[in-house]
Assembly symmetry: C2
Homo-oligomer: 311 residues x 2
Amino acid sequence: MFLNSRKWDPRGKSCYVTGGSQGLGLALSVLLAKKGANVTIVARDVKKMEEAVKLLEEHRQEPSQVFRYHSFSLNSADGAAAAVEAERAAAGGPSDAYFLCAGNSKPLYWLENTSEDLTAGMDQAYWVQAWTAHAASKLLVREKRTGKIVFISSTLALMSFVGYTSYSPGKHALKGLAETLRSELLLYGIDIHIFFAPTMLTPGYDEEMKTKPYITKKIEEDDSALTSEQAAAILFKGVAKGHHHISGNFITSLFRASSRGSAPSPNAFADFFLDNIAWIAIPIWRKLTDRSVIAHRDEHQKYLESKGLLG
Amino acid sequence: MFLNSRKWDPRGKSCYVTGGSQGLGLALSVLLAKKGANVTIVARDVKKMEEAVKLLEEHRQEPSQVFRYHSFSLNSADGAAAAVEAERAAAGGPSDAYFLCAGNSKPLYWLENTSEDLTAGMDQAYWVQAWTAHAASKLLVREKRTGKIVFISSTLALMSFVGYTSYSPGKHALKGLAETLRSELLLYGIDIHIFFAPTMLTPGYDEEMKTKPYITKKIEEDDSALTSEQAAAILFKGVAKGHHHISGNFITSLFRASSRGSAPSPNAFADFFLDNIAWIAIPIWRKLTDRSVIAHRDEHQKYLESKGLLG
């Protein structure tokens, strides 16, 4: 009891989960319901959200818990603001925590991306979360309420390699936004968290595998993946402990410890140790990866020709 | 001679410099002219570019050097592609090095930013460089040419704090793009460099001081600044040595060494040492900065009221 006294407890709190109809967002919504929170899911597909709310009902702990959903497109400032306002109107005030799980990725070679692909990549990796964070911050400050904003980023915010030109920049941008807001929202007592998710076995992952370049898949072939439920549990634990940077597995923690910026470490002693491992392990990984990319040159040239990208 | 044999020499090479009519871009253009390069400046203001080309003429080393300019708006894919194509047509082929110096910053409190401010911030910090990099990469690959792309980022790509929500995310995004491209463009032999600029005494700096929040100015009041010429010299030296990450001063190097991602260090031994200093110095800096932000709460509340941002 004493040791846990500073942990954040979602019981009776209202949690706003974007992208809550599937994948990490759904697993997190279920976890929050099990912990006694009120959960509001915000996504586009009404049918999926109806199913999701049914699932939340199965995990209800208290008769007083409220589960609901709003259907909005969140990749514009207006859509995100309208969704935050719809929930404010329904609940009679701001949410206690905003979990920003919406977003997806479409990996392609840099030369294959159209300008629309690159813009859509930034929308899905960054703006879909930034707009909700902006609307939620304004509402919390206006109503003189504290609260939490939780960004979902990726290992690819801490490093990057071939294939992720439309995704990694947006995930890096989220890290920069979270770090700025961690400092700036001290003005209002709003807490900022950011989860660096490793590969997760979600519908989004199945989707990105459809376009992922061959060499990217090859580099990732030995990666381990988390289920949505495992990732949600790690994310929740980090938020409850008040960590700003939260990483999903050992590899991501290595990159997090060696890409700290000015952000506080969840555990400075452990991270110092990880950072020392990173000094040795990451250059080796990079050299092997660079070698794979260079070895792929001839085959890639044929691919570009077959796609008419050299014309 | 032997020691320098692997250094990149711009003599006789064609260099494309966006934002070359003022500040860092102009200082870099002059430096490249002095080194015997052909220099093409791309910006909007024709009058400023005419002045800039006159200045380049004063530093001409060889009768064969060519200096010219193109007037384009670079913050759209089409504008950036048209500018790259105009130069290809004028020169009869791609440039050898693309230096992406265009861009600006308008610091405001997060709550003061309109959605247009945030979008324009990303355009100026990120897209204005990403679009040219995209067009240049496609051209180089199509013409089977190697070359260099040099991004201009900021210390604020490696850390961030209050006031930079419209700028730091875009500069982080550039770091992610550069890291992805360093890996991916090994497929084509195109080199990627990124300069993390500290505060520079440029027209852009004067402009950003006009909107910069009080607390941001206060946190920065002891920062040292580089002149454009000093920054251009550091940037050029890093590029000539083939460094991927290039930092402008000691403080930026501390953050670079502790935010390495998967990028190669310019000097792993020195950076290991800097990283150890960072483990001690940065948490102290952060605690002092957090304290300043929290101490500013009451005054900030009055500011928000005076601006009608709490209504």
